[in-house]
């Protein structure tokens, strides 16, 4: 009996069915079905945004992009401390392993991967077509936006349109800036037609955002390296479209400069925000670190990451903009130390102080990637450099920015001042330097106008100097070692 029982047992166990080794994928999210529903497509779009905003990992929610644009003449960093990786940019000695530019590189490509996945699949998605088109429009915007940052930082880059990985990607070659810009323009053109006039949420683009970035792209294409000067007219036209329809898109120039940088975490979005990456402290990696600690001096518990260059501050025109831009006395209590007597002997950027001077590196404030006055200055400059020179609208656009920033009593510029078109355009460029100081704008202006060498030559001798003479090779960063070591064909 016992024997029978035992034999039976063994037999039962031995009869292991083949299905015992089948993989059980319960709870696994994979395959093409993920994107076949509108909810799935929306989730993938949300994932694409992650590339642009993952605090301390990649994207723009921490001061990596600021560090990478330190080669301009508005901002510098600590000569010692723990800022070696920041100095690499200010001293034109960027290593292929720099983690700051690397965070932008990795983040933009992660966003591109997510956007590609949406773009390549949205036509097969079932759901409300209007919503699906908006989702796809946002994806086009994200891809165009990301490639725009990449090509301005790195020049020739791999141009990837696939959402899913394949081995063939390991050996692809770099595409030229011209090829990259073709895609950027195509993407933003798609986005401007597919996006609604009203943003779905503060941290998303609308049609106006796409047009504004397209205008900025045209302006850049007209300068170095492509020098397609015919693009000035396109830039002006596209900027004008945004200006004329600003109410439709919800864009406005705020009455005072100080309001723009009130930096109140209770406010989700300001009227000047053309496109922003929102920050929220309650999510995983979604808080913003570009405010607070990073631009505060050690005297106030800050990190001394970046502060104003001496001559830039000296030459900055007086007015409400200057007082709202800079912090010239340090101390959160009653004792104030003038910047001249501070440890780093530099004025700092008040712009990135949080309301109430909170000392933190995580706050629910957005990284505004373009402000409305940026559009005004695009128009003014592009019109001046394009066919026919500056018109009254160009003067109006410049004056709106200029008069708000400068001391009361400053006169508006008029054609009667006798500026040539080039002089007017340069006046706009200079106004942009003041208006967008420490906002990652100056560096790109210097590059497209090939003024990096001149601007750095004019720096105060007390500021950090380039390690070696600046050449055109310094206009772009070397591609990250992490990628060139896998695909040596990129070198």
């Amino acid at each position: 009996m016992k024997k029978l029982l035992l034999i039976g047992l063994v037999a039962m166990l031995g009869a292991s069915c083949k299905s015992y080794l089948e993989e059980d994928t319960t709870g696994l999210l994979y395959g093409p079905n993920v994107l076949s529903t509108q909810e799935g497509l929306e989730s993938a779009l949300t994932g694409a945004y992650r590339g642009l905003g993952a605090q301390w990992t990649y994207g723009f929610l921490h001061p990596s992009a600021n560090a990478a644009t330190l080669g301009s003449d508005d901002v510098t960093t600590h000569p010692a401390s723990n800022k070696a990786d920041w100095r690499e940019f200010d001293q034109f000695n960027v290593s292929t392993t720099n983690q700051r530019s690397g965070a932008v590189y990795n983040g933009c490509y992660k966003a591109i991967q997510g956007a590609n996945n949406v773009i390549n699949n949205y036509q097969k998605t079932t759901g409300t077509k209007a919503t699906i088109d908006i989702i796809a429009g946002e994806a086009y915007f994200i891809r165009g936006f990301s490639y725009y940052w990449l090509t301005r930082f790195y020049g020739s880059i791999p141009l990837v349109m696939a959402g899913e990985y394949s081995d063939s990607l390991l050996t692809i070659k770099k595409s030229t800036p011209a090829q990259v810009y073709d895609l950027i323009v195509a993407d933003l053109k798609k986005a401007e037609t597919m996006l609604p006039n009203t943003r779905r949420e503060p941290g998303r683009p609308n049609a106006g955002s796409a047009k504004a970035f397209l205008a900025d792209v045209y302006l850049t294409m007209a300068g170095w390296p492509l020098k397609q000067t015919d693009k000035y007219d396109l830039a002006a036209a596209k900027a004008k479209e945004v200006i004329d329809n600003r109410a439709t898109y919800g864009f406005a120039l705020m009455p005072t400069f100080a309001e723009v940088f009130a930096n109140d975490p209770a406010v989700a979005s300001i009227p000047e925000s053309v496109f922003q990456i929102s920050g929220f402290t309650g999510g995983s990696g979604t808080a913003n670190a570009t405010y607070g600690n990073t631009t505060m001096p050690g005297e106030e518990g800050g990190w001394d990451d970046m502060f104003a260059e001496l001559f830039f501050f000296r030459d900055f025109p007086e007015g409400p903009r200057k007082s709202a831009t800079f912090r010239t006395e340090f101390g959160l209590g009653t004792t104030k130390i003038p910047w001249q007597n501070s440890l780093t002997r530099h004025p700092y950027y008040q712009k990135w102080y949080i309301k109430g001077n909170i000392v933190t590196s995580s706050i629910s404030l957005p990284s505004v990637m373009m402000r409305y006055p940026h559009v005004l200055t695009i128009y003014a400059e592009a019109k001046a450099r394009g066919t026919g020179g500056p018109d009254q609208a160009a003067y109006d656009a410049l004056n709106a920015v200029r008069l708000r920033g400068r001391a009361t009593g400053t006169k508006a510029l008029t054609p009667a001042d006798g500026l040539t078109a080039t002089q007017f355009a340069d006046e706009v460029v200079q106004e942009r330097a003041w208006e967008f100081a420490c906002e990652r704008t100056r560096w790109f202006d210097l590059i497209r106008l090939e003024r990096v060498e001149a601007a750095n030559a004019a720096k105060s001798p007390d500021d950090l100097q380039p390690i070696k003479a600046i050449t055109k090779a310094n206009y772009w960063f070397p591609l990250p070692y992490s990628d060139t070591s896998i695909n040596p064909g990129l070198n």
Binding site: K2, K3, L6, V10, G14, S16, Y20, L21, E22, E23, T25, Y30, A44, T46, G47, R50, H78, P79, A80, N82, A84, D85, Q91, N93, S95, T97, Y109, K110, I112, N117, I157, P158, E164, Y165, L170, R200, R204, P265, A268, G279, F280, T281, G283, S284, T286, A287, G301, S342, L343, R345, I358, V359, S362, P366, I467, Y481, S482, S485, I486, N487
Partner: protein
């Protein structure tokens, strides 16, 4: 007599049909060489099945015919046959068996006489660690078995240990050995209570491990736990310990620190942070000693109670263990409970049942690296620890850019709670065919593991948050084992056939809450929050195995073993699902040959050799599929939206990683076992190496698992043991083992190199710290070669790099006048070339002294802790170690510590911070005393002991502990980095052991 009463009561209680026979009654006592009673000695009436075993004091009683003989036998002792000759009392003293010839060793799915073993395996005697305050299995293994390398990488109580048998084969998979506890495959060594161990065997070569097939490649540790024996036995063991830092970093006193900070500010053109008055005050009043705020004297205690007993047919053992240790870092600790019971019953001559229950619970509290330990060397000694509000100072204006070490200690809880239950039962049945036995075993292993993290308001930028991660893992195992054992003339055959299945299911969920309304409740009540998110996952794999093994020996002289296992795993797609792992081994017991016997030198001499294959399925389930993960993005200032993001691309072509191993061994024993030497040479080649190959960021980043390349491990193991002195009651037993390991990447499937990093060096490392390259070992450090500082006579050359004399000078490998990643090269090795242990036990009467050294040789460590505190990297803005006193300046141009300049660009990932990590350590010294039996009225056994671990260390390493590192035990590609590692401690223990 009292004892016997207890004994009989127990017999009655157990009611196992004990019957008295008609023959005469014989009683007596069996003692060992030390005149102490020997429990558990088998006493049998010669030629019959009548028998018994001795009780806890060595007493026995049975009925035997006056003309019969009694056979007394016990493992480790020379058996004696004593004629009864009409006596009613027979006392016997057994001599210890110096020869290990008759030892039975546990091998996979069976046992073997040690003499018949053809594979390379090491048995660790429980005697070797009985005198030591070991609390976990890794401490048992460390230094005691040739070829086994144990590194306590995290010195916290309950901290991580890396255990490797014959090196590391796999780059991707974890190279942890496979642990078998009482037949359950894949047990967690953390939960093994050393006091429960009866035997422990380390299987090293393929002949021994191929029987474990796809899971045997990293070696196998087989543990059997203590079983009950007849007669009630109660044992209590208590230990109390205190522990402290082995060493701390030398940091500058506040005044001098302030002077150096000022000197640097002057040299680089910044304002002076400190006035002369302040400096004078610091010199007078001192500053903050952050290390002494972070570290403390730890305390610990362990209690262990074992109760065992049983009758003729049924025996049981219950053991309970409680361990509570407070670490040397403030507010860190570990607590563990283990309860183990087993019961065995022999129903009749043929059938027996057994059941093991093993329950554990443990909690690690703040036993992690980094955090406070890193910040203690980043915060300035000039910054007060507490502010005027009595709270820790919030920011450091001079030193660190990050949080106060005290906030790391007290404003967060990073805890792990684990509870497990292992139920393992079986039956053994002798089938009607002689020598054929069927053994069935079923096991259920349940583990609940919870990671509980809380970050308070201060550490979290004002957003207190908590995360709870809980995983339930259930493993079901069934093993059906047919064993055939027969001896016909000169031919002995032992054969095993097994069908085994294992199924693992994991279900986990995570809940994260931020903006906690009631942060005082920590992670225990997270419902009140500003934002929360949840996630869950399901994971499952199955393994189906068929295996067989035949041992054949002729005249006990010529030995052959052949084994094969076929494993099927659900982790692979159907084309690659099954794999076969064969092995064969030969042994020749030369000492049985006349020509060797005639030499009269060897008491045992055996030559053996083996070849075989083992595998690794070192991948997670679902690696063949490309899956999405959950992520979050914010679209406003008040919520985060969940989305999905593509994870690592899957690879449908994944297959098994296979290790082929060849082993040649020689075993020698002289002077009847008084000297034993065992030497092995092995070579392992792992092919179809599973690697996580990095995917470029432009293609989505992350990694893809692929079968590429080959790794080779080879080495020599030598173990010398013996009893040099055994005279006049004084005995010295010693065991020395040394093993070398040469590890090499043979190929990477065409890739010229492959970086592997850690991510531990937040802000310290700029790229992967390790590089896999054909011809180089795993764990090769990748970085710049530091040539010292630029010297005054090299000013022109330095200028070509934009540098000035005093700046760091790195080797410019490609001579392009700039230091880039193209100048990175292999600068060191993280794998030691050799490891060893030397264990000595001296006994004299009741006194036992144990002295145990272990050593690690030929290894480098990348010391990021020191680098951060000496280079202004990571969170540290200033230089805090006393070494900086020697910085390069006018008049001190020979210094290789860089000057304070504006052109200073440090690379921490360079040979400047690579240090020799070799060490020899007095791992344990302990003295114990067996209090004479008569000393205590009720004849209990009392032993007291005192011991010290890590009492001294000989090393050139500049950190506090060469053994601890930052990377966990599951990887071998990125070991050896020290960045705020929780250091091992010096521990003093007092213990008492009471048995009756």
């Amino acid at each position: 007599m009292k004892k016997n009463v207890v004994f009989f009561v127990f017999l009655l209680l157990l009611c196992q049909g004990y019957a008295f026979a008609q023959s005469a009654r014989v009683t007596g006592k069996v003692t060992g060489p030390d005149n102490q009673g020997l429990p558990g000695v088998n006493v049998q009436v010669n030629g019959t099945t009548t028998g018994t075993s001795t009780d806890v004091d060595g007493n026995f009683a049975l009925n035997a015919a006056s003309t019969s003989s009694l056979v007394f036998s016990n493992i480790g002792y020379v058996s004696q046959t004593v004629p009864v000759n009409g006596r009613s009392v027979i006392n016997v003293q057994l001599a210890e068996d110096q020869k290990t010839l008759n030892e039975v060793v546990v091998v996979g799915y069976g046992t073997q006489r040690k003499t018949d073993v053809t594979g390379a395996l090491t048995a660790i005697s429980t005697k070797e660690f009985a005198q030591q305050p070991v609390t976990r299995l890794d401490q048992v293994l460390q230094g005691r078995a040739a070829g086994v390398q144990v590194t306590q990488t995290n010195g916290a109580p309950g901290g991580d240990a890396r255990i490797r048998i014959r090196g590391a084969n796999s780059v991707l998979g974890n190279n942890n050995p496979l642990y078998i506890v009482d037949g359950y495959v894949g047990a967690d060594f953390n939960f093994v209570n050393p006091s429960d161990i009866e035997t422990i065997q380390v299987l090293k070569d393929a002949a021994s491990t191929s029987i474990y097939g796809s899971r045997g490649a990293n070696g196998v540790v087989i543990i059997t736990t203590k079983k009950g024996a007849r007669g009630l036995k109660v044992n209590y063991e208590g230990q109390f310990s205190i522990s402290e830092n082995i060493k701390r970093y030398d940091v500058l006193p506040a005044g001098e620190f302030a002077e150096i900070v000022n000197a640097r500010a002057t040299a680089t053109g910044s304002g002076l942070p400190f006035t002369a008055d302040q400096i004078a005050q610091y010199k007078q009043n001192g500053g903050t000693d952050w290390q002494s705020l972070v570290f403390r004297q730890g305390t610990g205690q362990q209690h262990q109670v074992t109760v065992s007993g049983g009758g003729e047919k049924t025996t049981y053992l219950i053991s309970g263990n409680y361990l509570d240790q407070n670490g040397i870092v403030n507010n860190s600790g570990f607590r563990r409970y283990i309860l183990r019971t087993n019961i065995n019953t022999q129903v009749n001559d043929k059938l027996s049942f057994r059941l093991n229950l093993w329950g554990t619970q443990s909690k690690n509290h703040n036993t992690l690296d980094g955090g406070a330990i890193v910040q203690a060397l980043a915060w300035a000694p000039t910054t007060p620890a507490y502010g005027s509000d009595g709270m820790p100072t919030f920011t450091d204006p001079i030193g660190s850019v990050y949080r106060n070490p005290l906030d790391y200690l007290y404003d967060q809880s990073i805890d792990t709670k684990r509870a497990s239950l292992n139920v393992n039962g079986g039956l053994n049945y002798k089938l009607p065919i002689k020598g054929l036995t069927l053994d069935l075993q079923y096991a259920v292993n349940y583990l609940n593991s919870q990671n509980l993290n809380f970050t308070g308001k201060r550490l979290s930028n004002g957003v207190p948050s908590a995360t709870r991660y809980s995983t339930d893992q259930v493993t079901l195992q069934n093993t059906n084992n047919l064993n055939y054992d027969v001896k016909i003339g000169n031919h002995s055959i032992n054969a095993v056939a097994v069908l085994e299945t294992q199924q693992y299911t994991e279900q986990n969920f995570t809940a994260t809450a931020s903006g906690l309304r009631f942060p005082q409740l920590g992670y225990d009540n997270i419902g009140g929050n500003a934002a929360a998110s949840v996630a869950s996952a399901f994971n499952k794999w199955t393994l189906l195995s068929l295996l067989g093994r035949v041992n054949y020996s002729y005249k006990d002289k010529y030995l052959v073993t052949a084994a094969v296992r076929r494993d099927g795993s659900s982790k692979f797609s159907s084309a690659n699902r099954y794999s076969v792992f064969p092995s064969v081994a030969l042994g020749w017991r030369l000492s049985e040959e006349e020509f060797i016997k005639n030499l009269n030198v060897f008491s045992n001499l055996k030559l053996r050799g083996s070849w075989g294959m083992t595998g690794s399925q070192a991948i997670n389930p679902y690696a063949t599929l490309s899956t999405y993960g959950t992520t979050f993005s914010a679209f406003n200032n008040s919520a985060a939206t969940a989305g999905v993001i593509l994870g690592n691309p899957g690879n449908v072509n994944l297959k098994w990683e296979t290790t082929k191993q060849t082993d040649v061994g020689l075993e020698m024993e002289f002077l009847n076992g008084r000297i034993r030497i065992e030497a092995d040479y092995f070579k392992k080649n792992t092919t179809d190496l599973l690697l996580n190959v990095a995917i470029p960021a432009y293609a989505g980043g992350g990694t893809q698992t692929r079968n590429v390349g080959e790794v080779e491990n080879k080495g020599i193991e030598l173990s010398i043991g013996g009893t040099p002195i055994d005279k006049g009651g004084f005995r010295w037993e010693t065991n020395l083992n040394v093993s070398t390991l040469q590890n090499q990447v043979v190929s990477l499937g065409g890739l010229p190199r492959l970086g592997t990093g850690t991510g531990v060096g937040g802000g310290m490392s700029t790229t992967n710290e390790f590089m896999l390259m054909p011809g180089q070992p795993l764990g090769s450090y990748w970085g710049l070669k530091y040539l010292g500082t630029w010297k005054p006579n090299e000013a022109d050359e330095a200028a070509r790099y934009g540098r000035v004399p005093g700046d760091p000078h790195y080797q410019d490998l490609n001579g392009d006048n700039s230091i880039t990643t193209d100048d990175f090269q292999i600068i060191g090795r993280a794998f030691p070339k050799a490891t060893g242990g030397w264990n000595n036990t001296f006994t004299y009467k009741g006194l036992t002294l144990n002295v145990f050294f272990n050593g690690v040789f030929g290894v480098d460590k990348l010391n990021y802790t020191r680098a951060a505190a000496l280079s202004g990297s990571g969170d540290a803005r200033q230089f805090i170690l006393t070494e900086i006193r020697d910085y390069y300046r006018q008049g001190n141009e020979t210094s290789d510590i860089p000057a304070f300049t504006r052109t200073y660009q440090p690379f921490t990932q360079s040979s400047r911070f690579l240090e020799n990590g070799s060490f020899v350590r007095l791992k344990n010294i302990s003295l114990s005393y067996n209090v004479p039996t008569g000393f205590i009225k009720n004849k209990a056994n009392l032993r007291v002991f005192a011991s010290a671990t890590n009492l001294f260390t000989i090393t050139q390493y500049k950190g506090p502990d060469p053994e601890s590192a930052r990377v966990g035990s599951n990887t071998d590609t990125a070991i050896g980095i020290d960045y705020g590692s929780y250091p091992n401690s010096k521990t003093y223990t007092l213990g008492v052991n009471l048995g009756f």
